[in-house]
């Protein structure tokens, strides 16, 4: 499970991990829930060695439904969550930056994209910009390599992974491909503390000027039927098969020759690397 066994032989000094959590929204029902990526970020933080984890939430937490979501995070085994109360429709970034400056964290973990509101994914970048720290997107594993250096496994498309090395302090956003978060326990969620802090809220003026509607289904692109001039062309465009017309067929060659042709194709497509 661990990426590197260096940790046990070379124990890093204690460091502080701040995890930012938000109230998510179920993609089907739209109900408030533990945000998927945020809980994966918290799981990642809890699995790091020799760390102290601080969980920070900035938002409108007066609603009992939203409070119950924060208690779900507490139910993952936390003692408390710092809640900086903000008005509805306010920009959480200045408050988060102020809180993080007070905390002097080494590592800040967030989700990649909020589940409610605009969901642009700007929060970690704005925080990194404000603090002057590097920002690493799409992390799936973070391990301390000693001397303030951290190794981050980054999720690439198609299930590939890349290793990055960053010196603390830094901000990392966690990808959906990270390990699933642990279950939340209701009782320990009730025992945990929501510690409120008063930090002024900044109204988000841009978002108050936009129109927000339920998502429309995106129209399907019709294959070049618009360009067709005659009925025959339109018919052809509507019924054409996207499949290829059939390629080269090798029958008489020896097995070695056939294997060579397949091998060349695999190398030219880049799925096999020629070692040279």
């Amino acid at each position: 499970m661990m990426l590197h066994s260096k940790l046990s032989s070379n124990p890093a000094k204690n460091y502080t991990v701040a995890t930012l959590v938000s109230v998510g929204k179920h993609p089907k029902s739209g109900r408030p829930r533990r945000s998927d990526q945020d809980s994966k970020a918290l799981e990642l933080a809890l699995n790091m060695d020799n760390r102290s984890v601080h969980v920070i939430h900035a938002g409108d937490s007066s609603d009992p439904l939203r409070q119950s979501v924060l208690r779900e995070y507490l139910g993952m085994g936390l003692e408390r969550i710092d809640v900086t109360r903000q008005n509805a429709n306010s920009d959480a970034v200045p408050a988060l930056v102020e809180r993080l400056k007070m905390l002097q964290a080494d590592v800040v973990l967030t989700g990649s994209r909020a589940e409610s509101g605009e969901g642009s994914g700007m929060v970690p970048y704005l925080i990194a910009q404000a603090l002057g720290w590097p920002m690493v997107p799409a992390a799936v594993e973070v391990t301390a390599a000693g001397d303030g250096e951290f190794e981050i496994l980054q999720a690439l498309p198609r299930g590939q992974r890349r290793l990055l090395k960053v010196r603390a302090p830094f901000v990392a956003s966690v990808d959906s491909a990270a390990a699933e978060s642990r279950q939340t326990a209701w009782a320990s969620g009730q025992r945990g503390q929501l510690q409120e802090m008063a930090i002024g809220s900044n109204p988000d003026e841009v978002m108050s000027q936009v129109t927000v509607e339920p998502a429309r289904k995106r129209p399907k692109r019709i294959a070049s039927a618009k360009k067709a001039k005659t009925a025959a062309d339109r018919f052809k465009a509507a019924t054409a098969k996207s499949a290829s017309k059939g390629g080269a067929i090798l029958v008489k060659e020896s097995a070695e020759e056939k294997a060579q042709v397949i091998y060349d194709l695999l190398v030219s497509q880049g799925v096999i690397n020629k070692k040279k």
């Binding site: 992974r161 339920p214 998502a215 692109r221 067929i249 294997a259 096999i272």
Partner: protein, 427 residues
Amino acid sequence: MSDLIRKDPRKDWILRNRLHPLHEQVAAEMNGPAAEVRGPSGLIRRNPHAVGFIGPNGIKRIDRLGGSAAAAAGAKREQKEEQLPIIAIDAPQAYVAVVVDMPNGELSAHDKDVLGQARALADAAEDTAVLAVVFGPVKAALGTEANPDHPLGLAGVDRVVVFDSEAYQGFAPEQQLEAMLAVERTLEPAQWLFPDTHLSGNDRALRLAARLGERPIMHAWQIKNGKVTSRGGSELTDITRELASARILALASECAMPVDEARYEARVIASPAVPDVLTRIKDAGAVAVDPNQISLGEAEFILSAGNGIHDWDQFHEAARVLGATEGASRVAVDDGFMPRFRQVGATGTWVTARVYIAVGISGAVQHLQGIGSCEKVIAINTDAGCDMVKRADLSVIGDSQEILAALMAKVQADGAADGDEGKHDVA
């Protein structure tokens, strides 16, 4: 005798047969004057009765293709050979910058859609050029003069800036951001467009927006009448705002139609001087991933087995040596040789692999549907007439056991295998 109507069956036959050499003559004789004649006053007179011909069942048919369908098809072929016009913008006053992804040095379909949108935005303003910012090498070489036949020129690019030094390779977001800032300083693009792709376009857009203090529009999928519509969090909402309110936009795929009616210059302009930055994020390279841990739906390279496999140990060995994710047809799963989650097809997983090798799979309709989005399909089969061979880009007819053995030997001899040394367990 004279009041009897006499039919000339030969003339009728000629009248029905438009391809007959005498057809025109006979048609004129039977229908009266020809379809178009110049009248005594010099005007063209049309005879509507002479248009068309009488079909075999006695009904009048009018061929609006103006001749036979075959002739029309021929005319279309000629049109295709016609070259698209070149549109040049000589002295651009403003730019719409597009930071293209160009995975493997080639424009992706998503890149072309975003360039199509950029073209629309540039054409709406005066003397505005589309500027493509490219990181990393371009596969097809760009000349120093105009490149209208380059993929970039065909996709609607007027000017190109290429940053292809070593510092931009791999994951180098800080250096790439510095280059974008240099473009921002020197060319001052009116708008920055990015394809909204994981870790490339998306990351660059957010970095640039955070540095410039701009508010970007991410996940935009439609630009219409000066308004932008983007998807909100959880894909549950559509957020519509003014296009003028944002300079940085990340666009979803199929946001606009790609350019296909003209060629553009794609002239390379000197890339601005970029200061070297302290790279705080160091790229330690790709980590080998066990291909069987990757979910079948997102695997890039699949080796799939069907009814034609008899030596299953050899098949698993081949998948390991090639570094491919294993797949299977329904028959192989039903017979208990492969687990159900490995099944490819409409009844199993719809795969998106770039390269798909089907070993001993004849190609049921459901299976072919499931591999519909695969780019390269290779079939290894004993039956040359099966449907999979018709679909495949490369078909090899023969005993799969021999061919797989030869292929494995080939891969191992060239030392190309990404064998499992240094492989981390990522799951």
